[in-house]
């Protein structure tokens, strides 16, 4: 008995978490998938009606906008957050005297939710109140920054605020990576007379491939989950031009009272998540020879 216990302790210890994950993640995904085949409105109902919800979803122009936005937002957000995070990390790595305070400044947005900063961002990006008006007051009469109110460009302001929040974290990841690069390689390169930018471009950055992967995953998960950001900044507007799948799903479930439709959009979202995450998990966790 004690022997058995001793042998199975690790599994027993893991069990509560696993049970929780199975119920609260996979059980709930299953529940959602099931409900997506029903005509649930205000509250869930469990009579199956086939794929009506998916047909409705496919025909919905708003959902199309939400998916397009996810693509635009996702790509730009990941790209800019990575590039800015990397640049900041490299700049901070040059023996900057005020590194500590600067690092904190770059990192702090991660500490704030958009419920906190939403109003400030809305003002800053609003042409009549924020940057545009400040520049015009300074005498730049033709300065224009009205993306927030332009349905075709509003999604880009969401990118700006999103990058603001997340690039500091990416910077932290890269800085950590830079600090752990083997100094000997760099000294060797310097002895070979390779210039500093070249050293970064061809030696250091390539050696941080795993960090690129980590930050890609963190960022893509943030992009897919992005919700507060849009609600606080644009509320999905102008019109529904900045809707993302998460806000679409939320609107359907809670303000529209169309849970079936919400569940079908959630299921599609989960499929997108799976398509991104599973290859990553596979590459991370496939057995390696030690």
């Amino acid at each position: 008995m004690t022997d058995w216990l001793e042998k199975h302790v690790p599994k027993l210890v893991l069990a509560p978490s696993l049970v929780a994950i199975f119920v609260f993640v996979y059980g709930f995904i299953g529940w959602t998938a099931y409900v997506s085949f029903t005509k649930s409105r205000l509250l869930p109902k469990y009579d199956l009606v086939g794929t009506i919800q998916y047909e409705k979803l496919a025909a919905s122009p708003r959902w199309e906008v939400a998916l397009t936005n996810l693509a635009i937002f996702g790509i730009l957000f990941i790209l800019f957050a990575t590039v800015i995070g990397l640049i900041l990390a490299i700049m901070l790595d040059q023996k900057i005297r005020t590194e500590g305070p600067l690092r904190t400044i770059y990192l702090y947005p991660m500490a704030l939710s958009f419920i906190v900063t939403g109003t400030a961002w809305k003002w800053i990006l609003n042409p009549g109140l924020g940057i545009e008006s400040v520049f015009r007051d300074l005498g730049f009469e033709n300065f224009s920054f009205d993306w927030l109110v332009n349905p075709d460009l509003a999604i880009y302001t969401v990118v700006i605020a999103g990058v603001w929040q997340s690039s500091g974290f990416v910077m932290a990841l890269f800085l950590a990576g830079l600090r752990s690069v083997d100094g000997e390689i760099i000294r060797a390169a310097m002895v070979d007379g390779i210039s500093t930018p070249r050293i970064y471009m061809s030696i250091i950055i390539p050696s941080m491939a795993p960090i690129f992967l980590s930050s890609f995953i963190v960022l893509s998960h943030l992009a897919i989950k992005s919700f507060d950001l849009v609600i606080a900044l644009t509320g999905g507007g102008p019109g529904y031009s900045t809707d993302l799948p998460a806000t679409f799903m939320y609107a359907m479930a809670f303000s529209r009272g169309d849970i079936g439709q919400a569940a079908s959009s959630a299921t599609v979202m989960m499929m997108i998540v799976t398509a991104i995450i599973v290859p990553y998990l596979y590459s991370e966790l496939r057995p390696r020879h030690d």
Partner: protein, 414 residues
Amino acid sequence: MKKMLMVSSALALGLATTAAKAEPQAEVLHWWTSGGEAAAVKVLMEEFNANGGTWTDMPVAGGGGDAAMTALRARVLSGNAPTAVQLKGPSIQEWYEEGALGNIQDVADAENWDELLPEAIQYHLKCDGDYCAAPVNIHRIDWIWANASILEDAGIEPPKSWDEFNAAAEKLQGMGILPLAHGGQAWQDATLFEAVVAGLGGTEFYKKALIDLDMDTLKSDKMVEVFDQMRVLRGYVDDNFSGRDWNLATAMVINGEAAFQIMGDWAKGEFIAAGKEPGKDFYCSSPTGGGYLYNVDSFAFFNVDGDDRQAGQKLLAKLTMGKNFQKVFNLNKGSIPARLDVSMDEFDSCGVQSNKDLGTAIEQNALLPSYAHGMALRGAQAGAVTDVVTAHFNSDMSSQEAVEQLAQAVAASQ
């Protein structure tokens, strides 16, 4: 950490034990959280507590009640529904159909609600013929708020139709004055839209289009005209309107940056907070020509366990319809009482006007439930309409195309 857990479970226990006493209990979910609103509801709480009850406040603001609805759904699903919930319009019946609502007919009988409430309003509060919700107020939605001094300088009367409005706006634009302050949020776009539907199309058109969702009406030439007018209105709005909160738009009218705003009667609170007087510093008028777009806030009563909570529902229902609360609340809120026998002496000119128009509208059967504020349509359908309205207003979509999309979206939502 163990200690912490104990503290929190003790807290939960504490809540449970206070609930066990047989005094009337009410946990009230609402989104009246700003200073003025809170003061208005507080009257009800004080009366409730004075009558031996215990009021537990559960405010959830945001998104015009979206966040509160999220919380409500979670609470109902977890079998822990609040005692009373700020609800309105068809969503009351929707919740009833889900089997979530209780019944307060006995209170309504005792207090004679059928006599006191306009019939159109009764309709919203009843579930299968019995009262399941108590009304708090009547908001008028189709108000045009105007800056008095701008209008005087321009020699314009407060507009009473869309033609008048357009003429006035053209004139103001010619003078370099921004005619219309507007906030580009979907619900505000919808507020404009329904005022245009009621004003251009008239009462019957409104009912067919936005209550019955009659396909022929939705596809009619009149509807094309409505979208044309929306496009015209878009021309009267400044470029920075996107995402602007309604109160900032009101402030533009108050500060003389714009002449008009089309908004429900809660906007009056902003004027008054800024020290302005109705009839003197600002005007209120309606473009709907006899129509009356309304929004009735009410408390809906959910199925709850326990005598104390059921007693709480009855007491709350009674007090909500009480004359004193109806008066004080609506004085604070800018709306007018739902029961017809409250004296309007203390109300300002806009309130009195609203009350008078209400009477006329009742007589002429021109009382129109607001679609934009969830009185006319169920959530999914209202949302489908709003999607098209806001997409049209915020892009260069043609009116024809908007009408087609509208018909399509409505059909899909049914």
